[in-house]
């Protein structure tokens, strides 16, 4: 009963949040474009960071400059690192006024029926949550349970030892070029700490977080779930996110303790000028469970392979993802499951939809180390092609170094059939509506895992994407 009550309370708070936006007072810092040490030093100083954080950033910068661009995935040759601005106060990196937001995005907001205030936030027009009362009420509840839920910059100030203990330990700065870039220039993101035995009944949403920099260009998120704890974290939203910067590079590190449970749900719908290159990784102790629920709708190019490192006996990891690649989009998404211990299990379910000239790829790795006896892994990839020209590829990699294991891989590629369309159209649905219905059916196994409001929004979004797309 208490949960229901809490839930109602949160719903009410969220409503308040929605309509309580304020335009932030403008204060401006804008670094010159390009990558250099001065920018790193200056931003670290402006953030008033401890010395070790600056060292971390500088080392990352050095690493970034040395590392080659990845050549195995989508075409990244158009990324000009020198053209980007690497540090902006949040207000600066967003559009300055509603007028600057592209018409197409405004129209989508219209048709999704998103309230005015929320639209501005989503479009990044300098709106932030600033309802102290609401924040305090939430924060009190978290504090009572010992939960920390703040943005990562705040965490560096308030819980420096905790941040220092975990940051960069799961995704080291030299993990890949973009992880290095993020480590050098990160800002924002969430820091979540759940003490042993604490079960967080209501999902933590970046949406609730005060002064959320959830539209951050280089966000850094760290989630620590201690033994026997349980938490569901939700990031992003289904409505299009618009930002003037065209590179988004996040790093997410999740530590799942013994017997703990973490689910991380994210849906990205970046505008189609964005390179979205994200490193998401989790490490799971004995009998712990990690679930990634990952939706990729927007962006120009996405590279994202949520990983579960199953470190303890009987650890379990799941990755459930969808990717929607429309004209001009390349969704290169997948998953990694690394089995280090006996009786570890993983399930990877990937669903992709390609429309027009869109291209989606599944790129995944299942690795089972020597000694991970009786490990089990199951990979299911389903691709749906909407047009003759759309494209889907599967790159499943496996490295199995133990004999007593069970590894399954299934892949299907299908098209919307003429007979399915005819059937639905003969019942009065237009071609676009019929296609949308088929696509929504295809992603249903994903959608039913989402919180209600996200599910509804995602279905609507697919409907919008599909209108007039076939034939």
């Amino acid at each position: 009963m208490a949960d229901t009550q809490n839930f109602e309370e949160l719903r009410r708070l969220k409503e308040e949040y929605r309509y309580d936006f304020k335009t932030e007072a403008d204060y401006v810092y804008k670094a010159p474009p390009g990558i250099n040490e001065e920018v790193v030093r200056e931003m670290s100083a402006l953030k008033n960071e401890p010395e070790w954080m600056l060292e971390f950033r500088l080392k990352a910068l050095e690493t970034f400059l040395k590392m080659p661009m990845p050549t195995w995935g989508p075409d990244l040759s158009n990324i000009d690192f020198e053209s980007f601005i690497y540090y902006l106060k949040p207000t600066e990196q967003q559009a300055h006024s509603w007028d600057e937001v592209p018409e197409a995005i405004k129209e989508t907001f219209d048709r999704l029926g998103i309230p005015e205030a929320e639209r501005k936030f989503l479009a990044g027009v300098g709106a932030q949550f600033e309802s102290e009362a609401v924040y305090h009420s939430l924060k009190q509840e978290w504090e009572r349970q010992g939960i920390i839920f703040v943005d990562t910059d705040t965490a560096v100030q308030e819980y420096p030892e905790l941040v220092r203990k975990y940051i960069g330990t799961l995704v080291p700065i030299n993990d890949n070029k973009f992880a290095a870039l993020n480590s050098a220039f990160w800002s924002g993101g969430s820091f979540v700490y759940v003490p042993a035995g604490v079960q967080v009944a209501i999902p933590l949403q970046a949406y609730f977080r005060i002064n959320a920099q959830s539209i951050g260009q280089f966000e850094r998120t760290i989630i620590i779930a201690e033994e026997g704890s349980k938490v569901h974290y939700i990031e992003g939203c289904t409505a299009p996110q618009y930002t003037t910067a065209s590179l988004h590079t996040g790093v997410i590190e999740i530590f799942v303790g013994k017997g703990a449970y973490v689910r991380y749900t994210t849906i990205q719908n970046w505008s189609n000028n964005i390179y979205n290159l994200v490193t998401q990784r989790s490490i799971v102790d004995e009998e712990g469970t990690m679930e990634w629920v990952d939706g990729n709708i927007g962006s120009k190019v996405t590279m994202k392979y949520p990983a579960v490192v199953l470190k303890g006996r009987k650890a379990h990891g799941e990755v459930l993802s969808i990717a929607f690649a429309g004209d001009g989009q390349h969704q290169d998404a997948g998953a990694k499951a690394i089995h280090l211990a006996p009786e570890t299990t993983s399930i990877i379910t990937s669903k992709s939809i390609s429309k027009g000239l869109g291209r989606s790829s599944y790129r995944g790795l299942v690795k089972i180390n020597k000694g991970a006896k009786d490990a089990k892994s199951k990979v299911v990839c389903d691709a749906l092609l909407l047009d003759e020209h759309s494209r889907s590829d599967t790159y499943p990699y496996m490295e199995i170094n133990e004999d007593d294991v069970a590894v399954e891989h299934e892949a299907t590629v299908s098209k919307i059939s003429e007979d399915q369309l005819f059937y639905l159209m003969s019942r009065g649905l237009s071609e676009g509506e019929a296609s949308a219905m088929i696509v929504n059916g295809f992603i249903e196994p994903f959608v039913k895992e989402l919180p209600m409001e996200y599910a509804v929004e995602l279905n609507r979004l697919v409907q919008l994407q599909m209108e007039g797309s076939v034939g």
């Binding site: 048709r111 003969s426 009065g428 649905l429 059916g441 249903e444």
Partner: protein
């Protein structure tokens, strides 16, 4: 003219091969026509062509509904005019529940949300029939077809048995309230109990405002759904028309005599 379907000298080809070779048939509201014929004679082609399947190319003649040609209309536009086809092989749409599908379908055919401006600015979802009203109607019609309400939350035709599929087709017909219904081999794959339930369902829908074309290979369906007119279809044409006695004659003599009389 209201509710009347006229098929005039209809010629249709599929992948370059002529299947219908001049079909003439008029169905007025309140009439039940049965179309019988051996397998491969083109009966289903006629059904699909009436509904506008893109694979079937009309190369001559016309189909008029309420006095106007419908040949230029897409299947959904035909459905909105009140034409319905119960299919012989309904396709599965995994992930879409029967209830959600039906609500979208009924709302589209009845034109919910039509008045909202230019149709581009209305938010998605506002064009649906109110949930309460829909549920009530769905329940009534499912009861009529002796279907459990839980059936509505199953995915459309996905894993349905033959009988379940046919019942679901008639449920759709009941919900969509067409003016012309074409039932394509609705009896195939049904055991005797299911046949009776489906036939009872159809009979409860038959009335002065509905014209029905029952396409069947066997006479047995016509023991339950009584036709006013029976047509024998062979090699892309109606070769004989008459009353219910014609069906009984076919039952007795089979189709062989046609081959003898009209050439093999």
């Amino acid at each position: 003219m209201k509710g009347t379907l006229e098929i005039k000298d209809l010629r249709v080809q599929v992948e370059g091969k002529e299947i219908l070779k001049g079909v003439n048939l008029t169905i007025h509201p309140g009439e039940v026509h049965a179309m019988m014929g051996p397998n491969g004679s083109g009966k289903s082609t006629l059904a699909y062509t009436i509904m506008g399947h893109p694979k079937y190319e009309v190369i001559g003649g016309d189909i008029l509904f309420e006095g106007k040609s419908i040949l230029g209309l897409s299947p959904d536009e035909r459905a909105k005019k009140g034409i319905f086809l119960a299919m012989q092989y309904p396709v599965a749409v995994p992930g879409v529940t029967l209830a959600n599908f039906l609500r979208a379908s009924v709302s589209a055919v009845r034109g919910y949300g039509k008045g909202s401006g230019n149709g581009r600015t209305g938010s998605v979802g506002s064009h649906l029939m109110p949930m309460r009203e829909f549920r009530r109607e769905l329940k009534e019609n499912m009861a009529r077809l002796k279907m459990d309400i839980s059936f509505a939350s199953r995915y459309l035709n996905d894993g349905f048995s033959g009988g379940e599929k046919k019942r679901a087709e008639i449920l759709q017909m009941a919900m969509l309230k067409p003016k012309i219904a074409v039932l394509d081999e609705t009896d195939s794959g049904l055991d005797i109990d299911a046949l009776r339930i489906v036939a009872d369902g159809v009979n409860s829908l038959i009335g002065p405002d509905l014209g029905v074309l029952v396409i069947t290979h066997y006479q047995r369906l016509l023991n339950y759904i009584k036709p006013h007119f029976v047509h024998i279809f062979y090699r892309g044409k109606i070769i004989q028309s008459g009353g219910p006695e014609l069906a009984l004659m076919l039952e007795e003599k089979g189709y062989e005599w046609i081959t003898e009389e009209f050439g093999g």
